[in-house]
Symmetry: C2
Subunit: 142 residues, 2 copies
DNA sequence: GTGTTTGCAAAGTGTTTGCAATTTA
DNA sequence: TAAATTGCAAACACTTTGCAAACAC
């Protein structure tokens, strides 16, 4: 499916509102991230998709862009494995399944989980957010 | 405090039960991990403590040992930040505060949190465990 | 003695950085 | 044209690996 025919003014606006110039690279990455529904991507995956779409972007720019988007609250960073970050296009409060066999991260539908009531930290720090990760594995084949 | 005067037969037993030879390095690391109450350590931190105790161990051996202990269910690996693993000496089901300012990981006292009821994964995989991480930050100084 | 474990150094992975060249407004 | 952004390559932090030497039983 080729999406390169729309004006994408909504994406331009979104970037502008975040104080980011709508450059070719940022536009392309934003399209991939935000114009296809819910996504959970690593930097490498996003880079690969951009190249497939014939958008020339460097990996370094992908990383920079992901962090800029995260700071601007367009993305949320999720850590489930050492040495790899996922970026989630859903910035609302919600939780995740992480399938350790496939490495796939999925949203838990809102309302499908009892969001825990958490106690106050004893060290005086402020709660920023609560992450619930349900770790799963494919059944053994044996 | 110097603990090097006890026989540590309980630690020897623990290693033997896990099918691990009680070598000098493993004994020293096990003492640090298990003889001082609840701990949340990174490989680097454990390595540094061992060196402070005048135990010569290489970082590679610390990593190997942490993974062997984790496989043997003597430790549990916790991922809260990209590029860094914590190992928790408490292998019971429990949850964590993670202070993003200090990088300190703390147990949430059992009973202090409403453990969430989670839905079934839609992909047929089996739930292995549920991690709840309460991310906190020190209040701003401004 | 034999098999296990260790330590070193090298390699690996994902991520970040410095800086000149390019692009945007 | 002034400031922001990009791409490259080098640097980074953490972790894993290969293999000879040292150790446990």
């Amino acid at each position: 499916m080729n999406n390169n025919h729309r004006p994408y003014s909504h994406i331009v606006d979104r970037l502008r509102n975040a104080g980011l110039r709508p450059t070719r690279q940022r536009m392309a990455l934003a399209r991939i991230l935000f114009d296809g529904g819910q996504r959970h991507l690593t930097a490498e995956q996003l880079h690969a998709e951009a190249l497939q779409d014939n958008v020339r972007v460097s990996l370094a720019t992908v990383y920079n862009t992901l962090h800029q988007f995260t700071s601007a609250n367009l993305l949320r960073e999720i850590v489930v494995e050492p040495g790899r970050s996922y970026f989630d296009t859903n910035t609302d409060e919600h939780h995740h399944f992480f399938n350790e066999t496939s490495g796939r991260l999925e949203d838990i539908p809102p309302g499908a989980i009892d969001v825990p009531q958490v106690p106050e930290p004893s060290d005086g720090s402020d709660v920023r957010r609560v992450d619930v990760i349900v770790r799963t594995r494919d059944p053994r084949q044996s």
